[in-house]
Subunit: 299 residues, 2 copies
């Protein structure tokens, strides 16, 4: 089954202690769409400027991503630049040029409105709501977000959370939103905001699912070298939704493995700048790391 | 089989944002011995002062811990006091009064010298070496340490590491000792220092084993409330060694489950001040949490 993904489609200029890479393909929807494409057909919703490189459109198409919902708007593509510290755990935003994303309004092609799986990747909650308003009757809707929206668009975010099945956020965002230091107490409060499934990302420490069938501690794949973690969280949730859409059976029967597939896809993302490493992965390499994670956690 | 445990036997005065508890039973050997006692007979090696409360000797005995190797020395018991921040992840030492620990020299009773399992819990590496020198032919020796010894007794610590089978330390200590930010690269360097088995503790994120049969990602039990994490690392390694000494078969066949038992025992430690919660645990409660961890990580 197909996955509809809305989010930012951007150009990222990324500096790490060892390298600098300008104007890479970035944005939450780009990372998530490439990740999901390994498992399921993807329908992309986003907005880019007239400066958006043709090679990036070709890259989406190489992954079989449907770009009928990608608007090319007058103006410049959203451009983010940032810098990582030595330990890769802290990043500093250098510049944010919103460009066309400032006025972008998602418009779903008719063929998108019946997508059974919907990923509202990180973008303003008002736009995530607008996509939901245009859907007929999706089977499973997951939203991602970020600290910015918790700080400046909390009312819309809370409205959104009442309408989604799943919510994905990282540990510091969970603490910010619930005012709870303890992650397991935070999970309880997050469910009270609406979502049946809550997933808290913890970077290299893995992620935690809380759902109707209890909790799942999902491991991160051990990486000896992290080249650039930008987009790893988007890749995780993209891989998760792509795998879920491809799997037969109930959500509960598949969501744990879906998280592991998301986690493994995100591990490849970290091994190159932007989507450079993810885009080169073969499905067999993903399967190999999933098997390795099984062996790494069995007792 | 029995486990010999050497380390500090101390009094801890602990302040958390909600409570304050003076002169609790503490020290690496106390926590580790109580934890190990759930699984195997324990032989304790340590030194306390004449002020050491009789009720704490009774507590050791209640756990069947052999205290023939516990010296009662003229002077005061080692006393540590510290304070935790709101999130329980950072603690500040308020005072350290070494007392009798300053001149303590471990002397092993004859009956201790054949112990098959030896845990050199956190104490000066020179004292850990002195215990090893008094052992006949132990089957499995594990050492714990801390940042202090890396900073002030590195030569002794490095000598010790050439003589142990296993080394347990936390992530920041691994980084300090190897000058490697990446935990998996740090593991490689730690093996080069001698130990066949290296375990890196990551607090609420669990722990990582690297050994001859590859790596194991050991989960931490999800806790909704952490009352006092003091001694959790000592409890982890104590439980681990106690379980290993109780299990039939090779070290490699048992060490993963041993880590899980250590992790679960440490989760109880965090739920009370000092050893208050650990000491009340029933074996059935440990088994229940081990089963829960299996369910929490299966995919």
């Amino acid at each position: 089954m197909s996955v509809l993904i809305v989010g930012t489609t951007a150009l990222d200029s990324i500096k790490t202690p060892t390298r600098e890479n300008p104007r890479l393909l970035g944005g939450s929807a780009s990372h998530a769409a490439v990740a999901a494409s390994f498992f399921s057909p993807v329908q992309l919703v986003g907005g880019v400027g007239e400066d958006f490189p043709k090679k990036y459109l070709a890259l989406y198409r190489k992954h079989g991503i449907d770009v009928a919902g990608l608007q090319i708007l007058p103006g410049k593509t959203f451009h983010w630049s940032g810098e990582y510290e030595v330990n890769m755990n802290h990043r500093r935003t250098l510049t944010t040029e919103l460009g066309v994303i400032e006025t972008f309004q998602p418009k779903l092609p008719a063929a998108y409105q019946d997508a059974p799986f919907v990923l509202l990747a990180n973008i303003a909650p008002a736009l995530q709501l607008s996509v939901l308003d245009q859907m007929r009757k999706p089977r499973f809707v997951v939203a991602d977000s970020m600290d910015l929206w918790i700080n400046i668009a909390l009312a819309e975010l809370l409205r959104l959370l009442k309408r989604v099945d799943g919510f994905v956020l990282n540990d510091s965002e969970a603490q910010l939103l619930t005012k709870e230091e303890n992650i397991f107490r935070a999970l309880k409060k997050l469910h009270q905001l609406g979502p049946k499934y809550v997933i808290i990302k913890q970077g290299s420490h893995g992620s935690i699912l809380s759902g109707p069938k209890g909790q799942f501690l999902c491991p991160a794949y051990p990486l000896h070298l992290v080249e650039d973690p930008t987009g790893a969280g988007d890749t995780f949730v993209g891989g998760l939704m792509g795998y879920l859409a491809s799997a037969k059976g109930s959500i509960d029967a598949n969501i744990r493995r879906a998280m592991v597939y998301g986690s493994v896809t995100a591990s490849f993302c970290c091994e190159g700048f932007g989507v450079n490493a993810t885009t080169k992965v073969k499905r067999a390499e993903i399967e190999k790391r999933v098997k390795e994670l099984e062996a790494l956690t069995r007792f």
